[in-house]
Symmetry: C2
Subunit: 154 residues, 2 copies
């Protein structure tokens, strides 16, 4: 045992990223779970629709990088909560335009504000330089091409 002394698990990026991501996600959950009974995917769908406007489920999948079954279920849940409505497009009835209701948009506004506050507060702990580098590096990692060419979106 105990070979590879120099390699600490705590320096392994996938592990470190997961720890950091879980740490923050669990904290922020309190906002959408407690007040609105939303799941993480529902919050993301809500956020995308609020931020980028009405779109189809397919566009949402592409934009947010969420699998279509997760989107499908999140949309159904948000619809049940009366936070969004669907409208099949006339030219092609396979496409459903998803739009937030007034209540959905209100929830988005509040959660979006909470998110900004959360982010600002978190970032107070970091210098300007650290913030820039951190966001930049994370974006680059998130945008890495998938290893096997499969985008998992089939």
């Amino acid at each position: 045992m105990m070979e590879n002394e120099e390699f600490d698990l705590r320096d392994f990026m996938p592990y470190l990223l997961n720890q950091a991501a879980e740490r923050l996600s669990v904290d922020f959950q309190a906002n959408y779970r407690g007040r609105y009974g939303m799941l993480r995917t529902e919050w993301r769908v809500l956020f995308h629709l609020g931020r980028y406007g009405a779109m189809t489920a397919r566009a949402l999948c592409d934009l947010a990088g969420i699998h279509k079954t997760k989107v499908s279920r999140a949309v159904a849940a948000l619809e049940a909560k009366r936070f969004l409505t669907r409208a099949p497009q006339e030219e092609d009835r396979r496409h459903e335009t998803l739009s937030l209701t007034r209540a959905g948009d209100a929830a988005y506004q509040e959660l979006s504000a909470a998110a900004q506050t959360f982010d600002r507060k978190l970032m107070e702990a970091f210098s300007e330089e650290e913030q820039v580098i951190l966001r930049n590096c994370l974006r680059r990692i998130a945008q890495l091409p998938k290893a096997d060419g499969d985008d998992g979106m089939a």
Copy 2:
């Protein structure tokens, strides 16, 4: 709609971290899933035991920040694969010392090497300064105290 123009979801740290973490974890999975049929938690338990030596499940929970039910099931799975053995301690038979078998250690050695290669390759894309800041920031985020004082380990 479309208020809060300045706040892009892509800059929200919990989201960004999750995206980056998922991206890397999915790639590295190929190593332990394909070759050893391991789950993520099993890999983490294996890694901790290989890296830090034999310990109890409880110590593993604390060290790795994994919930005891997940550890319990991962240990059972690794035992079934003959990668570790348990030995109740004589002074207190509630404590079981978990130790890797020869096969378990061999798997750890190989996966640990794969992890180092993975990490090195990933980090080639970043400057020395970026690497230092990135790891440092992530560690600080991962170590933030839990919001509600509950460590989720009960």
